[in-house]
């Protein structure tokens, strides 16, 4: 396959289970085209994180295939900009914001100095995200919204073709969520963006469609805002996910 034309993500007949007999993901197939902007939604325990781990190559499917940009996930890793859940990071780690962003330049084999061009890129990206004044601030002393930007900057410094964000706005207030989505929106068209969202019914209006994972996968179109004024609740444009009756998410059934 010519990898330049390959879709960003192509998953075919994917099955995965942690323990025999209990399928976490059941016969999942979907394609995400280049420069699409999609979100993954679904109830807790529905398999969102498992799917993300399979896309990153941290887990191997029982059957079926995963192709990222035409490669297998492990080979494609350098082209993926990954942003983990913030809660997984040690809050007491002594590190400043710039050092976190520069981590996006680390690669094998190990070198004593990071490339100068990369450092300049890191500083430019921090400026674009409005965090260049925080360069020397201790990461643990930043606010949630600032940390988000630092981690997004780190993912962008890797010059990704695919951006994978794991619940980037978990625990953030409406204003921070809005700013974050505005930032994501400004990246539209430059790379493929996939965001795991902890919201089940409403997501930001910037996504093209939603992948709803609940053991099986359903692709949902996003309806326009209905008559209810969501701006009053969320302070920014939201769109409703049209769950189909057979995906059973709303009742929380798994």
């Amino acid at each position: 396959m010519k990898t330049d034309d390959a879709p960003a993500i192509e998953v075919q007949k994917l099955n995965f289970s942690y323990s025999p007999g209990v399928k976490t993901l059941d016969n999942i197939s979907f394609t995400v085209n280049r420069n699409d902007m999609v979100c993954i939604v679904g109830p807790n325990g529905g398999g969102k994180s498992t799917l993300l781990k399979l896309l990153c190559g941290f887990l191997t499917p029982d059957s079926g295939t995963v192709a990222i940009l035409g490669y297998d996930p492990v080979t494609a890793r350098p082209k993926i900009g990954y942003m983990p859940q913030m809660s997984l990071l040690d809050p007491a780690f002594p590190i400043c914001a710039l050092e976190v962003v520069l981590q996006g330049l680390v690669r094998r084999p190990a070198t004593l100095f990071l490339p100068t061009a990369g450092k300049k890129r890191a500083i430019r990206i921090m400026a674009e995200l409005g965090i260049d004044n925080l360069r020397n601030a201790r990461f643990s002393e930043l606010s949630g919204g600032q940390r988000q930007r630092v981690l997004l900057a780190r993912a962008l410094v890797t010059q990704p073709e695919l951006l994978l964000l794991d619940e980037p706005t978990a625990g953030a207030d409406a204003e921070v969520q809005r700013d974050f989505h505005q930032m994501l929106h400004s990246l539209r068209g430059k790379m493929t963006i996939m965001v795991v969202s902890h919201h089940l019914q409403y997501v930001c209006g910037c996504y093209d469609y939603a992948l709803c994972v609940n053991r099986q996968l359903h692709i949902h179109q996003l309806s326009n805002r209905d008559s209810f004024n969501w701006d009053d609740v969320f302070d920014h444009g939201m769109r409703k996910i049209e769950h189909s009756p057979d995906c059973d998410c709303i009742e929380g059934k798994i």
Partner: protein
């Protein structure tokens, strides 16, 4: 205090001088490895490795005294035990992520039990205390050279893999995404930690080793902003702790090990308490401005 400096610089007996030099040389390794141990949360693992060393010492003593295999020295046994423990713990992380704390404690207990068993069936007297508790005042010139070689190895590894180790310690998943071989990095960190422990345990004893691996780095972690600075600050603090502890033990005629440990713990508590007070004060001040 003058007595102490006289004994340190002008006494014909070198023991205090050697102890001080060992404290300074050892602090470099302790500062670097201690930073890894504290930020990657390897303290219990360092405890397990340092205690499992007893198993190797016991087996070596048994093979020497009961079986007549004289080329197996206690330090060789200790080294082998430390490397095997590190390998078991690294494998536990790779194959059963959730259970590695159980494996760490099992290595701790099995190592000590094995050591006591072998020492029990070894004929003749074996000086267990010397191995376990060491004495910083009994170090020799060749011990100093060993520690300096250790320093070189630790500095070389820490500099070459600086960014990889920092990234792995902060965010292992992202390290994996950047193509780093995290299991190899982890095993290398364990191996160097084990090496440091074995060499230092032999000289200054388990308790001082665990204290100097954790307390200076933990105290440094409360004040610094950067991981690299933490290593340097931890090394300097470690030098202050050993120097101050040695001076205190000389002046008040107390055993040096415990004085060093208690001095280090006191500074750590003061650093944590001081940091909290300052933060509280700043928050109040900011609140008033708002």
């Amino acid at each position: 205090m003058n007595d102490f400096f006289n004994a340190l610089f002008f006494s014909p007996m070198p023991f205090l001088r050697y102890a001080m030099l060992l404290g300074i040389a050892g602090s470099i390794a302790f500062g670097i490895v201690g930073t890894w141990v504290v930020t990657r949360r390897l303290s219990s693992l360092a405890g397990a490795i340092s205690h499992s060393v007893l198993g190797g010492i016991g087996l070596a003593a048994y093979l020497r005294n009961a079986c007549g295999i004289n080329w197996i020295t206690p330090i060789l046994g200790a080294m082998a035990a430390a490397v095997i423990s590190a390998a078991i713990i690294a494998a536990a992380r790779k194959y059963s992520r959730e259970r590695d704390d159980a494996v760490i404690n099992a290595v701790w207990a099995v190592g000590m039990a094995g050591g006591l068993l072998f020492l029990g069936i070894t004929p003749g007297y074996v000086d267990l205390e010397g191995y376990l508790f060491g004495n910083i005042l009994l170090v020799t010139g060749s011990d100093l050279i060993t520690v300096l070689i250790l320093d070189c190895a630790v500095i070389a590894a820490a500099m070459t893999f600086f960014h990889s180790i920092m990234l792995f310690s902060f965010d292992p998943e992202f390290a994996e995404m950047r193509g780093l071989k995290t299991n190899r990095i982890y095993f290398m960190m364990l191996l160097i930690t084990a090496l440091t422990i074995v060499i230092m345990v032999n000289l200054i004893g388990i308790i001082l080793v665990i204290a100097l691996l954790t307390l200076p780095a933990a105290a440094a972690g409360t004040i610094v902003r950067r991981w690299g600075t933490m290593m340097a600050a931890a090394a300097v603090l470690c030098m202050i702790f050993t120097g101050g502890g040695l001076a205190g033990s000389y002046l008040w005629n107390l055993p040096p090990g415990p004085v060093i440990v208690l001095f280090a713990a006191l500074v750590y508590v003061a650093a944590v308490a001081g940091k909290r007070t300052v933060e509280k004060y700043l928050r109040k001040k900011q609140h008033r401005i708002e």
